[in-house]
């Protein structure tokens, strides 16, 4: 069988939005391959997220529900996904491009002797995919020349999945002895934000070096809050420690494609553009009329951001 197994990530009892896009990729590819779609859920006390995952017409939802999977760890999750791949006779194992899958999927590829396509943007054929190279300056079509394939999937390129018949669940009884692993999980510090995540928000407001000082990032946050949007940042101000690196938009940070993107005080280095040029409407505010950001913006305003952003905020309130 040429089945497709999608690793479905979840947080706080819900399937992550990026994983929904990966399910859509799975539905599409299963059709092309003429195989079944299977989903894998890994965690501790999965609860209602299992019911959510059953809605998308997958042939089966494989669950790995055990205390050992409470925290993501590369070694233990690799064991679960490899077991899932075998149980589902999958010739493709994929998940959304996230910090976990970037850490995990090359290991799964190694275990399954599979070639891997990173950050897939489109399905071309059963073993052919489009993916970005050189920071998105090139869109390559790649062919994976192994029997089994692995992919990470760029979530902004796929819509939410169609719902289908309720999937049966196969609960796998896998218990990984964490003390046997070579890497030990010590702690995680999550940055809690009231704002929507930039990768799933309709509006993203991003700030850069033009803000001049850390405290001025509040302008970005205030504008985002007016529009119920998420916030993002250029590499420069992440490096400077003004904002957590988690906000970085770009080739090496997050790739976003909201309906409306504000680039404020961001010059528009190639690496930044790679992370946001898929946005529907781009607004750039920069006092340098020659800033490269204006080459990709739909609406550009050459002005001092400290004059115009407060004005924009008050006109939106």
């Amino acid at each position: 069988m040429s089945n497709v197994l999608i690793f479905v990530e979840h947080a706080e009892g819900e399937v992550k939005k990026s994983s929904l896009a990966a399910v859509t990729f799975g539905q599409e590819l299963a059709k092309v391959k003429g195989g079944e779609l299977h989903l894998a859920l890994i965690g501790s006390n999965l609860g209602e997220v299992v019911d959510q995952a059953r809605k998308y017409g997958a042939a089966k939802v494989h669950t790995f529900d055990n205390a050992c999977f409470e925290n993501y760890q590369a070694e233990s999750y690799t064991q679960a996904l490899v077991a899932g791949a075998k149980a589902s006779s999958a010739t493709m194992v994929a998940g959304a491009t996230t910090s976990s899958t970037k850490d995990l999927m090359p290991r799964v590829a190694g275990e399954l002797e599979a070639a891997m396509a990173s950050d897939v943007m489109a399905v071309v054929g059963a073993n052919q995919f489009k993916r970005p190279m050189w920071a998105g300056d090139v869109i390559a079509t790649v062919e994976l020349a192994t029997d089994t394939h692995i992919a990470t999937v760029r979530a902004t390129e796929f819509d939410d999945p169609a719902e289908g018949g309720e999937s049966p669940v196969e609960a796998h009884d896998l218990n990984v002895d964490l003390s046997s692993l070579k890497t030990e999980f010590i702690s995680i510090k999550q940055v809690k934000s009231e704002r929507p995540d930039a990768t799933s928000a309709d509006v993203v407001v991003a700030g850069g070096r033009g803000l001049k000082a850390q405290e001025n990032f509040k302008l970005i946050e205030d504008l985002a809050d007016c529009l119920n949007g998420g916030v993002g940042a250029s590499r420069a101000i992440c490096d400077a420690g003004w904002v957590p690196n988690d906000l970085q938009i770009g080739q090496t940070g997050k790739v976003v494609a909201p309906n409306l993107y504000f680039a404020i005080g961001i010059s528009g280095a190639i690496q930044h553009l790679a992370g946001m040029k898929g946005s529907k409407v781009i607004v750039a505010i920069n006092k340098d009329p020659d800033a490269p950001i204006f080459q990709v913006s739909d609406y550009g305003l050459v002005a001092d951001l400290f004059d115009v952003v407060p004005e924009l905020i008050s006109s939106l309130k």
Binding site: K102, D103, W134, V191, P244, F294, L301, L312
Partner: protein
């Protein structure tokens, strides 16, 4: 402490690459090549680890003959010696890892540090695949919370704490940071926000000319080096239509409301 760092020769990321007319590859005439920026960060961190724990830093590179230039750059930054696995071209992650395994077998390092991805193929697979194939522990996307413009960075302290045969480090994850502790030997990949790589000094460049680089042939180590990720075509991304400049906020808000209909 024996540290191995892995670098790759890539097109200068500041130059926009152009696709050949037939889509078979990119134009390489007059291209400038550099050390993959993430690997430069890896070399910097490896130097700090070596200096903090004393020992040796080996820089390994799998790539074409001309990649000697990039190995020299890492040697000029301060690495002790180089190992160059010479191939006709850059190899895919699967083959690169197989070649690196041979280097690791010979050198038995305690720690391997490499960039989290290279900016040419943007695959980001070598670090985790190498750890898996070696059966070593792995910490991807190591970073630090302190500013890269602060005093800690100027002191060139390593962000990787190594003691009693283990390495503890902070790594970036979506929505936060995580701390992991890895038994040595380990494979570590570097995020952008780990350090600011040093420039090679003039004396460093002079010294680098005399540092040894061992050359091995990929075909002797691996036999078949054909890629399992075949690029069968390249195209440019859809370009954005040129936008307009607005004069003021009033006009911007009006356009967003009535023309783009996004607010």
């Amino acid at each position: 402490m024996k540290v191995l760092t892995v670098i790759k020769r890539v097109e200068d990321p500041e130059i926009k690459v152009k696709i050949k007319g037939d889509g078979s590859g990119i134009e390489t005439d007059q291209m400038k090549y550099v050390v993959n920026p993430f690997d430069e960060i890896a070399v910097e961190e490896a130097l700090r680890v070596r200096d903090a724990h004393s020992g040796e830093l080996i820089v390994a590179c799998v790539g074409p003959k001309d990649a000697t230039q990039q190995i020299r750059t890492a040697l000029a930054m301060g690495a002790n010696r180089g190992v160059h696995v010479v191939a006709d071209k850059n190899l895919d992650p699967h083959n690169e890892v197989k070649a690196l395994q041979k280097v690791v077998e010979k050198e038995s390092p305690d720690l391997i540090i490499l960039g989290k991805q290279s900016v040419d193929d943007d695959l980001g697979q070598v670090g985790a695949l190498l750890a898996q194939q070696l059966g070593w522990s792995q910490i991807s996307f190591t970073s630090k919370e302190e500013s890269l413009e602060g005093p800690e960075e100027k002191g060139k302290q390593t962000a990787l704490s190594i003691a009693d045969g283990s390495l503890q480090a902070l790594r970036e994850v979506d929505g936060g940071v995580e701390v992991l502790k890895a038994k040595l030997p380990a494979v570590v990949t570097t995020e952008l926000r780990l350090n600011v790589p040093r420039y090679a000094s003039l004396p460093g460049i002079m010294k680098a000319k005399k540092k040894p680089i061992e050359e091995l042939a990929a075909k002797d180590l691996l036999g078949d080096t054909s890629s399992i990720i075949k690029v069968i075509g390249m195209e440019a991304p859809p370009s954005r239509a040129a936008g307009i400049k607005v004069e003021n906020i009033g006009e911007l808000v009006e356009k967003l409301k009535n023309e783009a209909k996004v607010i």
